[in-house]
Symmetry: C2
Subunit: 298 residues, 2 copies
Amino acid sequence: MNLDRLLEAEREAVEQGLQRLLPPADAWHPRLNTAMRHAVFAGGKRIRPILARLAHAAAGGDPSEITLAACGLELIHTYSLVHDDLPALDDDDLRRGRPTVHVAFDEATAILVGDALLTEGLGALARHPEGPSWAARRAEAVALVAAAAGALGMVGGQMEDLEATGGGAGPGAAERLERIHRHKTGCLLRASVEVGAVLAGLAGDDRERFGRFGERLGLAFQVADDLLDATASAREMGKSPGKDAAAGKLTFVTLHGLEATRRILDGLEEELLALAREIEGDGGALGAVASFVCRRRA
Amino acid sequence: MNLDRLLEAEREAVEQGLQRLLPPADAWHPRLNTAMRHAVFAGGKRIRPILARLAHAAAGGDPSEITLAACGLELIHTYSLVHDDLPALDDDDLRRGRPTVHVAFDEATAILVGDALLTEGLGALARHPEGPSWAARRAEAVALVAAAAGALGMVGGQMEDLEATGGGAGPGAAERLERIHRHKTGCLLRASVEVGAVLAGLAGDDRERFGRFGERLGLAFQVADDLLDATASAREMGKSPGKDAAAGKLTFVTLHGLEATRRILDGLEEELLALAREIEGDGGALGAVASFVCRRRA
């Protein structure tokens, strides 16, 4: 499989879906819509909607039918970045090489942009795919994504991450670090894969296999992110590197060191490839994406 | 009808529903859960979930079946208050007589509390009432509430309100003011009434009658709020009065004066009572609530 070409085609489908989901920049209210588009069209990798589409295909569905629902996941991911970047949270000026929303616009606008993206994201999952035959699956998709993104998921993880900053590597640090990542990044990635399966009508153990793959992929994603923060240059990452260590933030690298973190990631890649084979047999797209996530350098 | 007793019983049902929806204060993550409860259990009037329950009953449903879904509306309303109170937006220290979330906790926590409440609110609408026979109505409820709360609804209205502050009473001010209120407050109140009808299985013109009642009620609500801000004491309101005028904020009172604003509100009450009669005949609960909203003094 040519992974680059596959991801390129996937990204193109997602970009078109996002264009359709978001209000035009000049429609009411132009400042809000322009700022939402600034946040969303900033060259993201679109991993979450791509995972939903690929999982949907692996579960026997037609991925083109769920593109708009899948794009709802990207809006939710983007909201979390916009709010995390705020001065009261991570206080980041740069995101994917461009000024963050509160820098390019202002803080009030960035708060509202995040609120709107979260609302529109869950709304897209409630509306798409259209038609009465999809209604029950749509409701299930919103329920599972809201649970993953809410107080017991992503937002809870962000809260614990904030409290842990500066906490260092004392007792329980490894468990805390894994808990933060599982919630802050893992839950929504797991939900992205699961949405693809649920929209294809899977339930029970079949659905759970997809969920498990998504969960481990989420952990791999965060470990890779920590490695990148510790090693990459600003140009490669499009954000300020070394920031985590400078802020005394708990990461896999500050806790285990570079070499051990690389070994953790290699182990996760093996585990993910085995899970992907269970789902789709040899040489499938989910396995290829898992390797991409574990080996990415930017 | 004894409106006080009705509203008291309604509020009691809603409080119990909110207790069931929110994670316990000592569960993970305790700081987030405690702050969410600080925001939600602050003596609100619970107008939105009550409207949903009463509308559901007026449409022939059993209101006890939709309590948790209706409580989702209150979580969404509360999120909007928590974010509106932030320093970057309205910068309010006091809400219903108690310190706002960013004062009682901190700004980062207040941002996350709002994010979690919005997510859990839409999630509650996606999950409740449980059971496959409700699934299509649940999806429709999430879709309509998300549309009301999102970029083309509540968040858009908040954006325009921010931009209009200090704009004064120039040409187009009356239209702008009504547009702000229609989006910022009206959309979610309309959606609350409509959710009750949709969960009862209404569609088309039948559903639209409920929506229209909710929309006009939303406008009345905001006109009454402006009147209160201009006339009530801090003790009566539980928030800082006269703040709108001091901030150069556009309100019905700063634009039309006290007397004309009172006449607008009287006209709205008449219109609302006529709409309520169309829906439920004479002496129904929706009409009683409309009068309550138009005549409230705190």
